[in-house]
């Protein structure tokens, strides 16, 4: 293979940058058409939505619950470890709760969701594209954006915040198990300290808002990559990888911005 000259490399870099901006534009147009387009949805949007809620939300429950449990337990363990050197073991409850509600809950759930449900969505839509199912729908007169994409998009918007709440509850419960039953933290002070320092508006709601933002971004990326991919098996696998990578980076980047906005004004 011929080695590329510096000039060529720079040109390729510029081209890549333009492609990124182009993709962003294309994905925005795509999103607007899915949400506000006037295409025919065919038969029963609610039925489709329920089906997608099941495959996107319910099927992700296992990984979310198990992860939440383990993360909560580890938080309690490590937290107890560190806090006991300051004599503040009783604060382990609020530490677990605040960490989960503000950060780990929304972020970890979103990352797991991107990996499990996001990549599945991309692969499914990409597969439909490559077997011309999307074209068939068009020819029959049903808009695939409304029939295939929209239910999946809304299922993601609804599922991820719910999954995040479940993750936090399971994590706190796991942390409570470890702290109270195993490490001997006093039951009363565990919960009392937690209740005193966890504010509904500041912590629970902010965590929920974060998860809603993440839900929007992760699902959007997942369905767009599937819709936009090269209709070959290579193209689909590349699109799946892109979904996981882009969605994860977006979640982490947005988390920083949101945290700064929400908790930055000390």
């Amino acid at each position: 293979m011929r080695r590329k000259s510096i000039g060529e490399r720079i040109r390729l870099l510029g081209r890549a940058g333009i492609d990124v901006v182009g993709s962003l534009g294309a994905s925005t147009v795509f999103l607007l058409r899915v949400l506000f387009g006037r295409g025919n949805v065919g038969n029963g949007f609610t039925q489709l939505l329920i089906k997608q809620l099941f495959s996107v939300g319910v099927m992700s429950l296992v990984i979310i619950v198990v992860s939440g449990l383990f993360i909560g337990m580890v938080l309690a363990l490590q937290g107890f470890n560190i806090l006991s050197s300051y004599g503040s073991e009783q604060a382990v409850g609020q530490m677990v709760a605040l960490t989960l509600l503000r950060e780990l809950g929304p972020v970890v759930t979103a990352l797991l969701f991107a990996g499990r449900a996001g990549s599945a969505l991309t692969a499914e839509i990409g597969n439909m594209k490559s077997t011309e199912q999307l074209s068939s729908l068009e020819m029959i007169g049903v808009d695939p954006l409304k029939y295939i994409i929209a239910p999946r998009l809304w299922a993601g918007f609804i599922s991820l915040p719910l999954l995040t709440m479940i993750f936090c509850v399971v994590g706190i419960w796991g942390g409570a198990m470890v702290a109270v039953d195993w490490l001997g933290v006093y039951d009363g002070s565990f919960w009392a300290n937690m209740q005193n320092s966890v504010s509904f508006e500041k912590d629970v709601l902010n965590g929920l808002i974060k998860s809603i933002v993440f839900a929007f971004v992760v699902t959007w990326i997942a369905v767009f990559q599937g819709y936009d991919c090269e209709p070959t098996s290579e193209g689909i696998s590349r699109a799946t990888t892109k979904t996981v990578v882009y969605a994860s980076l977006a979640v982490l980047g947005l988390d920083f911005i949101l945290t700064a906005l929400m908790f930055g004004d000390f």
């Binding site: 099941f54 939300g57 709760a97 209740q195 504010s199 508006e201 929920l208």
Partner: protein, 155 residues
């Protein structure tokens, strides 16, 4: 049919999510229901408000009776003016009650504690608590302690 299981599954999922949210609201963050009770306003001026934030608790005898809704600088007296909203049912505070800024735990948040005086006259909506005790600043405390111990030594 397959549809039935699907719908039940989704329904349970939605319920679980909402239940989780409810649990987080009530058990984890201690949100009190019925927070839309009638309230009345009281003001208090402090020399030093360090650490007190809006939405901090206002308590009496350790029981929560309201919260701080605004903090401003009083330009005329150069003190910090705190606006508190207290529950209407606690409307029998004497005019010489004291408002102190206390700390929850050793390094915890600041809140306002009210202790009653003995006057016959009661505070009404829009009234001001005049007897106030400012926030304890750690450096002042240490300073006082050092001066005290120097005094003791020199005796």
């Amino acid at each position: 049919m397959q549809n039935r299981t699907l719908e039940i599954g989704v329904g349970l999922f939605l319920l679980a999510g909402l239940l989780a949210l409810l649990l987080l609201a009530l058990r984890v963050s201690g949100l009190t229901v019925g927070a839309g009770q009638d309230t009345y306003k009281l003001y208090a001026n402090f020399d030093n408000l360090a650490g007190l934030t809006v939405r901090a608790k206002v308590t009496m005898a350790g029981v929560g009776i309201g919260k701080v809704t605004a903090i401003d600088l009083d330009r005329d007296t150069f003190t910090g003016r705190v606006t508190m909203e207290l529950e209407k049912r606690v409307d029998n505070l004497p005019v010489d009650s004291t408002a102190s800024i206390l700390t929850a735990g050793l390094l915890g948040e600041k809140y306002i504690g009210i202790s009653v005086g003995g006057d016959d006259q009661l505070l009404k909506d829009g009234g001001t608590i005049h007897d106030t005790q400012s926030s304890l600043v750690l450096e002042d405390l240490i300073g006082k302690f050092l001066i005290n111990s120097v005094n003791k030594d020199s005796k």
